[in-house]
Each structure stands twice: as structure tokens, then as C-alpha cells.
Amino acid sequence: MEDIKTIIVNRSAYANNDLEADLLRDYLFDHRTFLINVMSSPGAGKTTTLIKLINALKDTFKIGVMEADIDSDVDAINVAKETGVKSIQLHTSGMCHLDAGMTKTGLDEIGANDLDLVFLENVGNLVCPAEFDTGATMDMVILSIPEGDDKPLKYPLIFQKCDLVLINKIDTKQYFDFDFDKCNEMIHYRNPNATVINISALTGENINLVKDYLVKRIREWR
């Protein structure tokens, strides 16, 4: 005889991850480690921006970087070389996003307890990373001029859940028809609380504004 029964579950596929993420945020607060989840499409300028930002912030905070590339460690090596801060490669085993569990494993590996600020470069993708809470203290999205000003319309979720949007590659704006006002309007329609800063990670333009924003936020949080 075999006994078959039905168990009603009614649970979101994201529920467990949401719990783990909240737990991780508590843990980070207890250790006063500020974690910034950096998201964008491939090539929007995450690594270039991080290098500039870390060099601007490394006298103020003890910093670490976690790079999530699907299958290479070029970003981790590059950041370490250009900034001198501790950097590790996270292994996503082919996955399109990081979840809170993978993030926690990375934080243990990098020794986040001793750090004030950790940057997490998420997988280059505007869809999946938005759906899985990493447990970060703050979410930052980089949108670059060549991608077009309609991205907040096409990928609403990622713009909805982030705190800071950097519009990157403004040194190239003369070559594209990127409408800054329209883009700002769409971001704020979805997310009235988002801060938007226009930068060029290449020339370093306005990196100081991002630095000031982060220093202020981290000091308030602590």
C-alpha cells in the first residue's frame, strides 16, 4: 500500500531568499559593514565606476569588492590591480543573478567583518538581479548613455527597487539622442525616492558627487 497526500504550500518562489536577505542585512548592520549591490547591463561600466569610486573612498573607509562574473575573473583581478583593495571572485556557477546565500558565502570569504564598505558587482543583466534580494544595504543601478533613455520603461523593476541610479558615459552624449529629462522622469515615476547622478567613469566627471552621497549615507546608517 502506498499513501498519497497533497500538501498545500502557497509560497512565493522568492520567499526563502527574502528571509535570508533580511537576515543578512541584520548581520551586516551588527558588524557595521555597508554592502552596495551594483547592477547594470553588460558593459554599462560597473567595473570602471567601481575602480574610480574605490580610489576616491579608500582613505575614508576599509573597502572590499566582490565580483560576480559568470565564468571569468578578469574584473576581480583588474579591480585589485587598479585600487589595491581586497577583491574576490564570486562563483555563480552559470547563474544569471546572485542570491542572498551566495552573497553571504562571499562576505565570509572576503572577511567582511573587518571591512566598512563592500561593493558587490552583480551579474550584468537588468532582469534577474532585480528579482533576487542579495541582502545588500543599498542597491545601485548604472545605466549608460548608449543603451538609450527608455530602459527604465522596459525594465521597471530594477529601477523601482534601487536607491541610486548613475547615468554613465556622459562623455559620449553628443553621439546619442539620450533624453536626460525623459529618463529622469521615468525613473521617478517608478521610484520617487531614487537619487540620479550623471557621471563619466572614464573621465571621472561627477565621481566626487557619488562619493559625497555615499559618505553621507554610510555615516547616517552607522
Partner: protein, 118 residues
């Protein structure tokens, strides 16, 4: 790729439930997937078939995939309408002030489990 991430999470949760409930195996899983969740049924099914081979309780688990319609609500005329057909703009008053009320979720509805006689 995105589907695999969700499959991994779903299987993880169902395996935990199976263990917790002391069952022998899970023979059927019903999930509800919103039309605008970004999940493609065929990709999800493929990823599921492949991934459960590595599971403990779900090796023979049948997947019942229930699509849920995307519904949007218009703040201006209080109308609701199917999202995939009309998008962001309300078909009745053409207002852009609309938001999604359903269709984004991936929900584990229930599981059918089997126990050997003991």
C-alpha cells in the same frame, strides 16, 4: 538562464518541505506563474526536468504549470485590464497611470507526496 535560478529556488524549497514532512518522495508539484514574471514555460520545464535529477525527493516529480494572467489597474478611471494586450496605457481612458496587480508572481501552490507503508 533566468528560469534556472527560479527552478533552483523552487526545488530547494520543495526539498526542504519534503524532508520536514518526512515523506518518501514528491510525485507532483503545482506552480502558478504570472504572464509577466519573465518566465518562459518551455525553458522552465526544461530546467526543471534537468535539475530534479540531482534532487533527493523529486526525481520523478511531475510539474503542473498554471499560467496566471497579467492584470493592470488604472488609477485614473479605476478600470482593470489585461496587461499583455494593452501594456502600460489604459485602453479605456488612455492614462499611463496604471500598475500591475497580478501576473508577476511565481507561486508554489501545492505538492503531492507519497509515503511507503510503515
Amino acid at each position: 538562464m533566468h528560469e534556472l535560478g527560479i527552478v533552483v529556488e523552487v526545488v530547494k524549497q520543495v526539498e526542504e518541505l519534503a524532508k520536514h514532512n518526512n515523506v518518501d518522495k514528491v510525485i507532483e508539484l503545482t506552480i502558478e506563474v504570472g504572464e509577466v514574471s519573465g518566465v518562459i514555460k518551455e525553458y522552465f520545464e526544461d530546467a526543471f526536468k534537468w535539475f530534479i535529477k540531482k534532487s533527493e525527493y523529486m526525481k520523478e516529480c511531475k510539474l503542473v504549470y498554471v499560467p496566471i494572467q497579467g492584470i493592470s489597474y488604472c488609477e485614473d478611471c479605476k478600470n482593470t485590464y489585461p496587461t499583455t494586450k494593452y501594456g502600460k496605457e489604459c485602453p479605456k481612458c488612455h492614462s499611463p497611470h496604471t500598475y500591475l496587480v497580478s501576473g508577476q508572481e511565481v507561486l508554489i501552490k501545492d505538492i503531492k507526496v507519497q509515503n511507503k507503508e510503515n
